[in-house]
């Protein structure tokens, strides 16, 4: 990690509602120019954290500085430094796209001529120039999100917060948003702070990722660093007709299986070389009386990191745990 100036400094920040801590003693720093991702399932405390960092919620304990300003004592100064895209759509549906941006820019005191030019430029950037004078009520979800990205860039924020920027969008719109964020990043040096529960999103965009679960940071590092914590390099995922303990045990006992997770009738095995090891696993399952419905081999992703550190898959919202079949501490095997 390069030692730059700090865009975000958070120490011991906590938010409690009653007795329950939604964000629990979280501390981290983000350098200027980084793309920092908070990855966690719904309900992990991501939105509460972003709202505390963006002055919308007062922390119960702890403190945070954004661009050197305290989020509680210097909230006004913080607001001038940041741009935020909240998770919910916040553009006015009864105004046109152009009006939405223009009014927002006036909140920041941007003079008329500069507004006109920059709105035009940004609407072209997000591909909405042709729809600028339509009411936002007539926009699709993806268009609305792109409009909000254009809007938040009007005052050239130093730090851009995006809370689940692509949640609720179809894959195509999601990719368009990613490309847009990438383009913006290259044109303006900005620090990006985003939360997501999409693994691909964190992996595709972020220079560093913090995995958050139940209000706490579980692990923090670059996607590469995080993956290095995992034994093996590839993951073999298998869906069986019926998963039994016997099948699980026999897979676990394979010498090349570093780690085995079972969930419902699926099984994930961490191995060094997926393509080489797949036939042997299939064979073991068949001889233990199991029937394989599907099998895939992929490189380890942040999803595997998440399962490794939290013991459950990110799609779960409830407390259901996947059983960790390989008992004991995770082994670190090189190569």
């Amino acid at each position: 990690m390069t030692e730059g100036r700090k865009a975000v400094q958070v120490s011991g920040i906590t938010k409690k509602y009653g007795e329950a801590a939604v964000v629990d003693n979280v501390a981290f720093e983000v350098c200027e120019g980084e793309i920092f991702g908070f990855l966690g399932p719904n309900g992990a405390g991501k939105t509460t954290l972003v709202r505390m960092l963006t002055t919308l919620i007062v922390p119960t304990r702890g403190s945070a500085k954004i661009a050197g300003f305290d989020v509680v004592r210097e909230a006004g100064a913080v607001r001038r430094q940041i741009g935020v895209i909240p998770q919910a759509m916040t553009s006015d549906t009864d105004l046109t796209g152009y009006e939405n941006i223009d009014i927002y820019a006036r909140f920041y005191g941007i003079p008329a001529r500069e507004r006109k030019e920059r709105i035009q430029y940004l609407l072209e950037t997000v591909g909405l120039a042709a729809r600028a004078n339509d009411l936002v009520a007539a926009y699709s979800g993806g268009m609305r999100r792109r409009l909000e990205i254009a809007r938040v860039l009007m005052h050239r924020p130093k730090i851009l917060f995006l809370d689940e920027p692509t949640s609720g969008l179809d894959p195509q719109s999601r990719r368009a948003v990613w490309e847009l964020l990438d383009k913006i990043r290259q044109e303006d040096t900005m620090t990006l702070f985003l939360t997501t529960h999409y693994m691909e999103e964190a992996e595709a965009l972020c220079t560093r990722v913090a995995i958050i679960d139940a209000g706490k940071i579980v692990i923090l590092g670059s996607p590469q660093e995080l993956k290095q914590h995992l034994p093996g390099k590839d993951v073999i995922s298998l869906t069986l007709e019926k998963l039994s303990d016997a099948i699980g045990d026999s897979v676990k006992n394979l010498p090349f299986a570093h780690q085995v997770f079972a969930e419902d009738n699926s099984i994930r095995v961490a191995v060094d070389m997926g393509a080489r090891d797949l036939p042997a696993i299939m064979e073991v399952i068949r001889s233990a009386g199991g029937k394989v419905l599907s099998a895939t081999v992929h490189e380890q992703s942040l999803e595997d990191v998440f399962i490794y550190f939290t013991g459950r898959s990110i799609r779960d919202e409830g407390p259901k745990k996947v059983s960790l079949l390989s008992a004991g501490m995770p082994r670190r095997t090189g190569g």
Binding site: L56, G76, R79, V84, P86, A88, T90, S91, F107, G109
Partner: protein, 378 residues
């Protein structure tokens, strides 16, 4: 049979969904219980009440016995049914000026030769100067004075000798204002209330409800920007509507137009201040509401406690003491009384400055409260 059961299931689901929402809105529940009671207490007292405490200036220029018995009779009314309170005035000019300025509802002048004329049966007269813009109060006072004056005739004159009658000379100080015309200021205030209810704070509650407010709170906008901005936008819309309603009311009921620019300026100023008062009041009360339904219920409540006891429909003098106390801090009461004075009596700034000062002070207090109470966090 199956179809019927399904229909019942669907219907009960719709009902249940509504009940659940209702149950989780405690303000609305409390209001739906309180509202009928409040309506009863306020509406009932606003129209039914006997007029009481109407201030009557009495100028007695006669030193004879009959003027004293007229006064005794009036005192009996003041002590008994309490329709009026007697205020002694030094001279006729001061008493009439007092009526014009709204201090008295009427002035009774008993001329120096009254007792003599009674004795001589020479057609005695008393003069009654009435603020006839308030028709209901004028009627009640005329009745009371008539009774007080008429009573001495029957006491001192044998019934068969109906040779004379004491004459009550009515002096209407203003052009006659009929009931419909007298409602126009109230209708203007009602339009201001409705305007204030659908602009201003309602917009921020709506933004909050649909989740758009978050984007505003993230910008450098201060509490004052948000509160004052919404109040100003509400003011412009509501004032325009109120001016139109006033013009339409004047045209429809045939109220003669006031003569000078001062009156037009005063009416505009009163409309602006009444609008600001109501917008600020609602912002102070509803600045933190999260559901538009609360704004709706609260508006109904405010309308009842502000409008009906404002004097727009029925004189404030008819209200019981506790409601008259409420009228003393009710911006609508000040606005109605000042608008009536300007529209029907051609009042000048000197007459209504007190109402203007109250409305301005009320606005200042409520807007400050609205800004302080507004929450700039989620």
């Amino acid at each position: 049979m199956n179809g019927l059961r399904e229909t019942a299931l669907r219907l009960s689901a719709v009902v249940d969904r509504d009940w659940k929402k209702f149950r989780r809105n405690p303000v609305v529940i409390a209001m739906s219980v309180l509202m009928p009671i409040i309506y009863l207490m306020i509406l009932g007292n606003s129209f039914q009440g006997k007029l009481r405490g109407l201030p009557l200036a009495v100028v007695n220029q006669d030193s004879g016995p009959y003027s004293r018995s007229v006064l005794d009779n009036l005192r009996a009314i003041a002590a008994g049914p309490r329709t009026l309170v007697i205020r002694a005035a030094t001279d006729e000019a001061a008493a009439v000026a007092g009526v014009r300025n709204g201090i008295y509802k009427a002035a009774l002048v008993i001329p120096p030769d009254f007792s003599k004329k009674v004795v001589l049966k020479a057609g005695p007269e008393v003069g009654l100067f009435l603020d006839n813009t308030d028709g209901i109060s004028a009627q009640a006072l005329r009745g009371a004075v008539n009774g007080a004056v008429g009573a001495i005739a029957s006491d001192y004159v044998p019934i068969r000798e109906r040779a004379y009658e004491i004459h009550l000379r009515d002096n209407n100080l203003y052009r006659q204002v009929d009931y419909f015309q007298s409602l126009v200021p109230g209708v203007v205030i009602m339009s201001i209330f409705l305007g204030a209810m659908t602009t201003g704070v309602f917009n921020i509650v709506m933004d909050r409800f649909v989740g758009v407010e978050e984007a505003y709170l993230l910008t450098p906008l201060t509490k004052t920007d948000i509160v004052a901005g919404l109040i100003i936008s509400g003011l412009s819309i509501t004032t325009a509507v109120a001016v139109l309603v006033l013009a339409a009311g004047v045209a429809i009921t045939g109220i003669p137009l006031p003569g000078s620019v001062e009156q037009y300026a005063l009416m505009l100023l009163l409309i602006v201040l009444a609008t600001l008062s109501l917008l600020s009041l609602m912002f102070a009360i509803l600045g933190r509401a999260r559901h538009p339904r609360i704004v709706g219920v609260m508006s109904g409540f405010l309308n009842v406690i502000l409008f009906f006891p404002s004097g727009a429909m029925y004189p404030v003098a008819s209200l019981p003491g506790w409601l008259r106390g409420l009228a003393r801090i009710n911006p609508e009461a000040y606005a109605v009384s000042a608008l009536k004075a300007v529209l029907f009596k051609g009042a000048h700034l000197a007459t209504v400055w007190g109402d203007i000062a109250f409305l301005a002070a009320f606005t200042a207090v409520m807007m400050t409260a609205a800004i302080v109470l507004f929450k700039r966090t989620l």
